[in-house]
């Protein structure tokens, strides 16, 4: 009886310890901040400093934040699912150090971005959209068969967006 009491205490202690470490982890990783849409959240780690800096110096800065282009905007559920997938991939890459100095968008993310380009610039691309239906598709991953940024190469991050491209970027500049 005594022994089992003892075990219960130890088990409770371990459980409490786990909860404490979990809370610390949530706090240290600023996990809850990832629920927001603030672009600064995307440079909690330094990996995307260049993408932040180039976006911040682009014309899109005034109109669209990171999530406006990179996550689906048609439904909240889709947005959260995409955010979770990206978040998981980013966490794994960051923790295991498997990312390179040049990040590339996944096909899944490319499709979302292209959809967002089209939805904001709907009027401008309406005719193109119609025409694209009639011609051979170059790329099955994205609507219209060719990625907007294959031609609009500077939008919005510029052409060289290696981690080393913005060495003098001192983190976040409050505007």
């Amino acid at each position: 009886m005594k022994k089992s009491n003892m075990m219960t205490y130890v088990a409770t202690g371990c459980a409490v310890m786990m909860v404490v470490v979990f809370v610390t982890l949530v706090y240290e990783s600023r996990a809850l901040s990832y629920l927001s849409s603030d672009p600064k959240v995307c440079i909690t780690c330094h990996t995307m400093n260049t993408h932040y800096a180039t976006w911040q110096h682009s014309s899109h800065r005034e109109q669209a934040s990171c999530v406006d282009c990179h996550l689906p905007r048609d439904s909240f559920v889709k947005k959260m699912i995409a955010k979770s997938i990206d978040g998981y991939n980013h966490s794994v890459a960051m923790t295991l150090g498997t990312y390179g100095k040049n990040l590339r968008v996944t096909d899944n993310a490319a499709e979302r971005i292209q959809n967002n380009c089209i939805s904001c610039h709907a009027e401008a691309v309406a005719q193109m959209h119609e025409n694209s239906e009639r011609y051979k598709k170059f790329d099955d991953e994205v609507p219209m068969g060719r990625r907007c940024w294959d031609c609009h190469r500077m939008v919005p991050h510029g052409r060289t967006k290696s981690l080393l491209s913005t060495p003098d970027n001192l983190g976040v500049k409050e505007l």
């Binding site: 089992s4 409770t12 310890m17 786990m18 990783s29 923790t95 983190g171």
Partner: protein
């Protein structure tokens, strides 16, 4: 019991994994903090090389202003200028500006700053250093602005040892653009249309340049030091109270009866215009569209994957494909031709103006010689004052022919008009005093013109060379041994280049 064991095992495994993750997150956060660390640079650090340790590309491009090293003697090109500035330093020596790297060297070498033998001699006041060095904001901070503006130029010779550099435009912690000379903010506020506090980042990309590239004068300001001693400072002041136009500034000076010097030949109370670059730029099409100086003079360049703003400030025409062609569709060749033609138009009218004004000075001198009275002469002299002021305003605004061609040509037009008005009045006076057909002496070179106005050039040059080999050397020695850490041997210009001598 089984339950407890399961809880313990799961908790321990989860805790260990979470601790590992926590360690990794802390490591990443430390990396991020290190990347975001602000460079450790002293406030108002005058040595640009110290900033260059953290910003090597910007520093290297700044140092490349060395390449603009040719001495172009403006007096040689148009000897009329010697006559226009008779009695004033500019008649002795005046070259086109070289790169930022040479700014201090050229200020020290020019015959205009004379040949002081100690800290209390020489023709110029301390204000002549104002735009030459980041040691100036440092001194203003250390000594106070009025103290800085008091005394002779030679007073700060051993303190001012770095040419214009990083600290003149940047904050040491954030690298944000910052204006280090208070007189600019005072002038903008006095003018009123663009108060300094409302300046945007785009405005700052012009205003840091305007600290120096604007018309100014030394305003006599009395002040009392803590010991109760009276001093008079010559404070750099932008005359913008009435507006930025050539007429508004002329009116400002006339209202205050301000004169830079009295002309040696014509006795005219003269004004000297000094590079009203900003005032002129604002009236041109690029200024009207709110471009900043940095948009064309500091274009973005790419080095490997890194993009940064070039600090090799100079003519955008040296790099047309990265400057003009960012917005314009023409070819480089077409651009060069368009701009060259603009320059020719300005030079044509400027040459006409200097010819007329030089003649007017000689004719006024003759009229005085023949006994003309002050009452007779005053209206003609005021015309000379205004004519020369306007011509000077148009040509001293470096790049004015391009920044604002219409305004520049308009100003030159009014200069010619005023010059002719002066000569018409003088012709009547000369006729009255028996010399209706007087013509000023002819001169074909800078040297002849200098002789004509009574300058002893050999003596001036000898004295200057002596100064450079004595007091100047002492300044460098003092600055490098003062223990203040202000001297950087890299700023020492190796090759001695002036308009008056090939070696020291």
């Amino acid at each position: 019991m089984n339950k407890s064991i399961i809880v313990i095992v799961v908790s321990v495994i989860a805790t260990v994994l979470m601790l590992l993750l926590l360690g990794s997150i802390r490591g990443n956060k430390a990396d991020q903090a290190m990347i975001n660390t602000v460079p450790d640079i002293r406030e108002l650090e005058p040595r640009s090389a110290e900033w260059g340790k953290y910003f090597p590309r910007q520093y290297d491009s700044y140092m490349a202003t060395k390449e603009s090293d040719e001495i172009k003697d403006v007096l040689k090109k148009d000897p009329n200028l010697v006559v226009l500035w008779a009695g004033y330093g500019f008649s002795k020596d005046y070259n086109e500006p070289r790169g930022h790297y040479y700014m201090l060297e050229d200020n020290i070498n020019t015959l205009r700053t004379g040949a002081p033998v100690d800290e209390k001699t020489g023709p110029m006041p301390t204000a002549c250093w104002t735009c030459k060095s980041p040691d100036v904001p440092r001194l203003m901070e250390e000594k106070g602005e009025l103290e800085f503006f008091t005394g002779k130029w030679a007073r700060w010779g051993d303190e001012i040892v770095n040419p214009i550099g990083c600290a003149d435009c940047h904050d040491n912690e954030t690298m944000q653009l910052s204006v280090k000379r208070d007189f600019l903010a005072r002038a903008l506020d006095a003018e009123g249309s663009e108060p300094f506090d409302e300046a945007t980042h785009q405005d700052m990309r012009t205003l840091v340049c305007v600290q120096c590239h604007a018309e100014y004068y030394f305003k006599k300001t009395d002040w009392e030091d803590p010991d109760g001693k009276e001093h008079t400072a010559g404070v750099v002041t932008f005359p913008w109270d009435n507006g930025l136009s050539v007429e508004a500034i002329e009116q400002y000076y006339d209202e205050r009866k301000f004169t830079d010097w009295t002309h040696k030949l014509s006795k005219t109370p003269m004004l000297k215009a000094q590079h009203p670059g900003y005032e002129t730029f604002k009236t041109g099409i690029h200024g009207q569209n709110n471009l900043a100086c940095a948009d064309c003079h500091m274009p973005y360049v790419r080095e490997g994957g890194v993009k940064y703003s070039s600090h090799k400030i100079g003519s955008p025409l040296d790099n047309i494909s990265n400057t003009c062609l960012n917005c314009h569709g023409e070819s480089e060749e077409q651009f060069k031709q368009i701009v060259e033609r603009k320059l020719e138009r300005k030079e044509e009218l400027a040459a006409a103006a200097t010819d007329i004004i030089a003649k007017a000075h000689f004719e006024a001198a003759k009229a005085w010689e023949l006994g003309a009275t002050e009452e007779e002469m005053t209206p003609a002299l005021m015309d000379i004052r205004h004519a020369q002021w306007r011509w000077d305003f148009a040509v001293a605004a470096h790049g004015g022919f391009f920044h604002a061609p219409e305004e520049t040509l308009r100003i030159l037009g009014t200069a010619i008009d005023k010059g002719h008005a002066a000569r018409l009045k003088l012709r009547i006076i000369l006729a009255k005093h028996g010399a209706p057909e007087y013509e000023g002496p002819a001169f074909s070179s800078k040297e002849k013109a200098q002789e004509l106005i009574g300058l002893q050039m050999d003596k001036l040059v000898d004295e200057k060379i002596t100064f450079l080999n004595t007091l100047r050397e002492e300044w460098i020695k003092k600055a490098s041994h003062s223990g203040k850490e202000i001297y950087d041997p890299k700023t020492e210009v190796k090759e001695f280049k002036t308009s008056y001598a090939d070696e020291k």
